[in-house]
Symmetry: C2
Subunit: 180 residues, 2 copies
């Protein structure tokens, strides 16, 4: 980040007056350019016993499996974002149910929020960001080829809850930069 | 948003190839400048029967009461953010417990996540962004002077759960731009 979005002036990285953290501050107009964590929203789409996964056609983790998820957009709710991502990545229409996993992915500057969901009609197909989509029975899930730790966490907790007949909220913190 | 943060070139607002929404795109280097909802994190700090609120010393809603809450920062978890905001705004140290309220504030381009918390030692004082802080019994809460609908929602649900001996997750969508 080098130039001010409002006046084109040069930015410097310093602690603004009254602030506690360094920010990108414009040397010309003084505007402070904040950078904050982003929300990734997704769902575990269920169809009977099976769960819908997408094989990623984009980096990071090209070729690995994930649940439908992506960056939340302005103008939508979390549940609407999860629905939109599922339509985009898996060409699947879902009912979004309860929020069940909240994962801080600190090193990635993201918060991941995942919902339980059910496919409306069982139809699915690869969207632009997917190589393929597939419905998996629990014992068929390709655990060694899951794209992200947050997705593994969500899938594990989803299946645990389903087996136990529970609907709980699960939270965890993932940070590659902290000692385990 | 007028200038590119990376090259200083002029931005235009258009739908990039392969995208579904208009973005600020640099006419010189092509960089896409995404804007996404921000996470606001806070807590309801309990001290015995009482709840700690802050009277805002900043706009919006100067002079109205709120729970300690603010924008999540890079490098922290949600719970750490809630703790930091409470220290900054109410000079109070808290134990953060469970996430209990998730509120989409669509028109504000924010997602609010609120935790149950307890004061460590009962001490509190106005931080830079507060005019004063005060511990309220449930019947003393200044409902007509609560700063935000999301805070009202969190306080109501917190008290409902406490009265019922429950620890539930509550969610709602607030959007001034949608018909009620």
């Amino acid at each position: 980040m080098k130039y001010c979005t409002e006046c084109g002036g040069s930015l410097e990285f310093r602690i603004p007056a009254g602030d506690g953290l360094p920010r990108h501050v414009c040397t010309a107009c003084g505007k402070v350019h904040y950078v904050n964590p982003l929300v990734v929203v997704g769902c575990v789409p269920e169809h009977g016993e099976r769960i819908l996964l997408c094989k990623r056609a984009i980096e990071p983790r090209y070729g690995y499996w994930t649940i439908p998820a992506g960056f939340m957009e302005i103008g939508e709710s979390l549940a609407e974002g999860a629905m939109r991502e599922t339509l985009e990545e898996a060409r699947a229409r879902v009912d979004i149910h309860d929020l069940f996993a909240v994962v801080d992915v600190v090193h990635a500057k993201q918060v991941h929020l995942m919902y339980r969901a059910t496919l409306l009609d069982g139809e699915h197909a690869a969207g632009d960001e997917s190589l393929e989509t597939q419905l998996f029975l629990p014992e068929e899930i390709p655990w060694d080829d899951i794209a992200f730790l947050s997705v593994r966490f969500a899938l594990e907790k989803f299946l645990e809850d389903r087996a136990a007949g529970l609907r709980r909220l699960h939270t965890t913190v993932i940070d590659r930069n902290r000692p385990a």
